[in-house]
């Protein structure tokens, strides 16, 4: 068709097809697509088509907004305002997660369980170590250290009695032993000698401070003077301490391996 069916004046607003052989309804179809009103004298099917497409782009029908709650929940998770405690996390990692109100109760028990397990393991290790120390089955340096710190029996090869009653136990309750409070105390400069480094430069004291007789404490039921274990107080020198320390370190390394 080389000539339009109607003149331009007869169909105002409708551009004449410029392409030879082009479909004469293309302008009408473009008008429908663009949402423009088609001429009243356009074919009836075009009007119905226009009506149908208008219905297609119409407002929401019942059920079409049913997903709004889920979308809002996802938005709440992903938006910066909705997740202020973890706003630094990428949103992509949060969208697929449960809402915070569901997530928090799941995390706290896990942390508590982990902490409880750690505490139980530590307590079990302390109990086992103490039991082994009292059974006298630890390596000699460690046994000696346990002897002077927690009152475990002395190493057997010394041939001493393993239990010497309360007198063989260093009195740590008054801060005299290394297992007491590690905080520095006034007038107790010898605490520094517990460190091997300090032991090397310690003044010429031939006994470790925790087995030296001390004066009576200023408070308490009465004087508690510790005189040290009668057999296992060999008058250690700082070099002895250093040697014990190094052997303990070696034995601990072997145990770890």
């Amino acid at each position: 068709m080389s000539v339009p069916d109607a003149s331009h004046s007869e169909m105002p607003g409708i551009p004449t097809p410029s392409r030879p052989g082009g479909e004469h309804d293309e302008p009408l179809l473009d008008m429908i697509f663009d949402g423009r009103a088609i001429p009243p004298d356009a074919p009836q099917e075009m009007h119905d088509l226009e009506r149908m497409l208008a219905a297609l782009a119409g407002p929401a029908e019942p059920g079409e907004l049913a997903g709004e709650a889920a979308a809002r929940a996802a938005f709440e998770l992903a938006s910066p305002a909705g997740i202020s405690p973890a706003a630094s996390r990428p949103a992509a990692h949060q969208v697929n997660r449960r809402p915070a109100s569901h997530r928090a109760p799941r995390r706290r028990p896990a942390r508590r369980r982990a902490g409880l397990a750690t505490a139980l393991c530590a307590a079990a290790a302390v109990l086992v170590s103490t039991a082994a120390a009292y059974a006298g089955v630890l390596p000699e340096p460690i046994q000696r250290m346990a002897h002077v710190t927690v009152g475990a029996p002395a190493p057997r090869h010394h041939g001493t009695s393993t239990r010497s009653g309360s007198g063989s136990r260093p009195d740590t309750r008054h801060g005299h032993g290394p297992a007491g409070s590690p905080a520095p105390r006034p007038g107790r400069s010898a605490d520094a000698a517990w460190s091997p480094g300090h032991a090397r430069v310690a003044p010429a004291r031939h006994e470790p401070p925790w087995i030296r007789p001390r004066s009576a404490p200023t408070c308490g039921p009465g004087p508690r003077v510790y005189h040290g274990p009668p057999v296992t107080a060999p008058g250690w020198t700082p070099s002895d301490l250093q040697q014990i320390w190094s052997r303990c370190s070696e034995d601990l390394g072997k145990l770890r391996r």
């Binding site: 099917e45 219905a55 297609l56 889920a70 996802a74 998770l77 910066p80 305002a81």
Partner: protein
Amino acid sequence: MIGAAFGVVLARAQAGDEAAFACLFRDVQPGLLRYLRVITPEAEDVAGDTWLQVVTGLTGFRGQEEAFRAWLFTIARHRAADAGRSRARRSAVPLAVSETAEQPLAPDAADLALDGISARAAVALIATLPRDQAEVVMLRVVAGLDVADVARIVGKSPGAVRVTAHRALRRLAGHLERAGVTQ
């Protein structure tokens, strides 16, 4: 379409305003569902996946309302393709049965006359078109995208999109004429 207020609504939604996001959702969701009902049998699920991705990337979006719709419908199209691939991998589900069960059925003349061409009936009628024609019509009419945006989304030239759209409308007009709705 939100129109001139779109920029403000988008900015508030990007700042975390849930009401502004709800405004975007209510504006787009009906058309999104109708579009997805034409191209996938799992329209609701794919729409949910689409919105999840939209809220993830919303703060990084820059553009006007047409660009927002083009972005959102591109996501929807990709998620629909993912759903189709996933559906094809599920060997336990008989594909033919599930797809035909979910496929919108072509309305007959009586349905159209009774419904007065509701959106639902219109979607069902468009679903009778070939897939490429139906998708182009939905993107042009429901998403409100121009030919260039539709061409980018479906991976065709603008000229091909225009020809496909015209063919689709002619076929729809023929359906309507034969169904007697036009009388």
